[in-house]
Symmetry: C2
Subunit: 512 residues, 2 copies
């Protein structure tokens, strides 16, 4: 048995059995070891950002740590942006990164690079295996790290010789450390604070899970406080039967408006909210001046136990208010953003998984889908566009029996379009809606936000994706995915009805 084989066995016995891979030569022994273990599901991505983003989507839907397989520092670089997003989602991921044999790193070879260095700028845990005999334990430690503190990025760098040299037994993956909890007295003070006028409870991460959000909603209903969630959340249950919750906003002024009346903000599993960007003369924080921020339970602590303790402390008896099914009529006639929202809300299948990277368009899709059939909604967490198609890929691998709907802009989808091929190869049940507004609409908005009103040639050419326009039906076909282009509401409705009633990947280019 060599180091690579002990690692694969350690991963499988430790519960890591999916690997989103983009391997190269330095990972050949790991690939050979995978070959002897068909119980490890290997999903090939033609670009590393697809692999890391898919791992994020897989974790969000299963809570199980997947692996990625990457190739030296540049391969990690290609996966970096979606690891950044995954980190913000608090997803647990183990990256296996091959590197040159230790002695080969003395010489100037083309692929020599600072693999540990780049990993450390985004991973919670980085380790370089020093010896084949250490690989199994290093792998077990990496898996444990990925499961620690509610989900972390763990990177194990395998110099090629540690993979091919002889090694002994696999290692056992130890359970992660118990999550920290706030003291009972702290919970009691939070309970008192929530009973005061102007109190709000802001929850995020695991606290948004279907069971916990109900606990939080009962607490809110009982105390009279408001229940808030961030604008961007890793996963939230929405639609008919889901608990009612207010969301923060993307636009600075809207965000300030949501927070204006909040006197005490109790954080549970959430960071203190900050605006997405800073702008000249605008605040970084949406809270009103003098708001008391009560940090009940940090995002890396046990928000489940904390909410239950708070619930008990308050002796809550009431039920949580829930959304009631209300579907809009099917739109007809010309295309508009409102009609896209109506069509999606009316047709979204029960238990769909919606991946939202629609950026400017999504703002029109969230209100009407609030009372659609029950579904899960996954947001872009780190602001690094190019997470939509990968997240959808991973979610579909995780949940083969559920329809995945990927909402994405034409600008953002271009960063990781290679995922379409993985969807085709794995026959993933993903319907991708590309909102083809022919440009980075968000940048036009932001140019105005920073105080620039007139757009000249250089800016125009950096905001527009025109001359030529992208042909998304051709791009889908090139990757082996069928596609439809729609230019009016009737076409959109027909395309969604067709795509939602069949299995497998399909792309709809929504010209808007």
């Amino acid at each position: 048995m060599n180091g690579a084989e002990t690692l694969v066995k350690t991963m499988l016995s430790g519960g890591v059995n999916v690997c989103f891979a983009n391997p190269g030569t330095s990972e050949m022994h790991f690939v050979a070891a995978l070959d002897r273990h068909p119980e490890m599901r290997c999903v090939l991505c033609l670009f590393e950002g697809g692999a890391t983003g898919a791992a994020d989507g897989y974790y969000r839907m299963t809570g199980q740590v997947p692996a990625t397989l990457l190739h030296l520092a540049p391969g990690f670089g290609n996966g970096y942006a979606n690891l950044h997003n995954a980190k913000k989602a608090r997803s647990g991921i183990v990256n296996i990164v091959g590197d040159h044999a230790i002695w080969h790193q003395h010489y100037e070879s083309p692929l020599k690079g600072d693999t540990a260095g780049i990993s450390q700028t985004v991973s919670h845990f980085t380790r370089v295996s020093s010896d084949a005999a250490m690989v199994a334990q290093d792998g077990a430690d990496a898996i444990r790290a990925a499961r620690s503190n509610g989900g972390q990025i763990a990177t194990l760098i395998l110099p090629a010789n540690t993979a091919w040299d002889k090694a002994d037994d696999p290692a056992r993956v130890v359970a992660p450390p118990v999550l920290r909890r706030p003291a009972a007295s702290h919970v009691a003070r939070a309970a008192q604070a929530l009973c005061q006028p102007g109190a709000a409870l802001l929850i995020d991460g695991r606290a948004l899970g279907e069971d916990l959000i109900s606990v939080a909603a009962r607490i809110a209903a009982s105390t009279g406080c408001r229940l808030l969630a961030p604008y961007f959340v890793p996963r939230i249950r929405r639609g008919a039967g889901s608990v009612k919750i207010e969301r923060l906003a993307y636009i600075v002024e809207e965000n300030s408006a949501v927070m204006a009346e909040v006197k005490t903000l109790v954080l549970c599993g959430a960071h203190r909210p900050a605006n997405f960007f800073a702008y000249p003369g605008k605040p970084s924080l949406p809270e009103a001046e003098g708001t008391h921020v009560f940090d009940l339970c940090a995002p890396d602590m046990d928000s489940a136990a904390t909410l239950h303790a708070l619930h008990k402390e308050l002796g809550v008896q009431v039920d949580a208010p829930r959304e009631v099914l209300a579907l809009p009529a099917l739109p007809t006639g010309g295309m508009s953003l409102d009609k896209i929202g109506q069509a999606l809300a009316a047709l979204l299948p029960k238990d769909a998984i919606v991946v939202d990277e629609g950026i400017t368009t999504s703002r029109f899709l969230t209100p009407p889908t609030k009372t659609a059939r029950p579904h899960d909604w996954l947001c872009l967490m780190g602001g690094a566009i190019g997470s939509g198609l990968p997240l959808a890929t991973g979610a579909a691998v995780a949940c083969p029996d559920r329809k995945v709907v990927c909402l994405t802009g034409d600008g953002s989808a271009m960063y990781t379009l290679q995922c379409l091929w993985t969807m085709a190869r794995e026959n993933l049940d993903v319907v991708t809606l590309v909102f083809a507004n022919r440009g980075y609409q968000i940048l036009r908005l932001e140019l105005a936000n920073v105080g620039v009103d007139d757009v000249g040639r250089n800016a125009q050419r950096m905001f527009d994706v025109e001359g030529p326009t992208l042909d998304w039906v051709a791009l889908a076909k090139g990757h082996g995915v069928s596609g439809t282009r729609v230019t009016d509401a009737d076409g959109l409705v027909a395309a969604l009805q067709a795509a939602f009633s069949t299995h497998g990947p399909h792309l709809v280019e929504v010209v808007c």
Copy 2:
């Protein structure tokens, strides 16, 4: 005038007038400043790896430092792999990376990340501007750094407030430090060494420039030493009229064979050669045991002055042997790798720029093109695949009057296919040949190299890009580029004849 404006003015007066850009919100003031300066050519790339790779290609063809415009740590991450390649090519590039306003970095916003940290793992120079008043001087220092030591990666991080706050005047870019030269006594010893039996002169980088390679070749002809270049070189003149030079190899055994008889290896502008990867039981270095490695002039020193000094020391009188035009017959019948080489060699236009990321296929294309019409040849320098289409983009921006021929595998082209759109938008004169062998052929080769003979399902599915196959004609069309699929030699010849006789981007999918 704000910080961004002083930076753009500093760049323009300092000779940086091309910017390969993928901007986001934090760069909006820089974009607004660019708008007031149409003399800065902005080239939009739909993925950052396209921008950084294009900058590399632009520098290799002009020797002029271009800028890239990137968006925070994840944007830098997306550009990382091709910055790695550019670093290995010793290309000079200035990356302008927007970041959050300094005070906003205190808060947990989605895009908060370690921008300086990731930059430092690949850049020679990293600076974070602390104040709008410093931006112009920081920019001037970054440009100087990019021009130093024969070409470097320089990264200037602009917190948004340093771009939008008031600033004074632009700064003047000072010339880079004079390159170091070896002592005259060291040159004299090298001259003696080159006259001994078994001597070889290995040159790389600038020493491969058209003038200097002739000097080196005359030295070799005069002393009787062999003249060598690495397998991967940033740019080399080839074809009829070019000087004859031996190249090292990719395959370990072939590389050892080239070096077997070398007793003294004199390095000028070159690193001591190392094999691409390490393999179990194979050497890292191709040199024979006991080879004397004479480090005459390191890659960051003045190889031009060194070669001229060596030439003078030796009192060279002879001419350099040169290649003579010899074109193969046009191939007919079924497709083979040899026939692809013949067709390319026979039809390659005079002064073409060949970008080579053909990996396994390219090994069949280099021998026949050695005596083709004169051309420049650019290699993948850092082993991070996905550099071909970007390099071709930058080379075509640099040299609008020359035909660019991009040789790429279907596996490698997928990493940065978004460049096709930039080729269409800028109407770049690039003919891309995608060698569609439906997989990562190099990995099959490498699996055997590391001693694994049987390929099972998991490995098979990670080497093959099949089920579905990629449709490159559709992918090109999706990006606005015309395409042709050829499956035999006659079709290839016709497609090349057509593509070489018209201007503008075209893609040929070569099924092989």
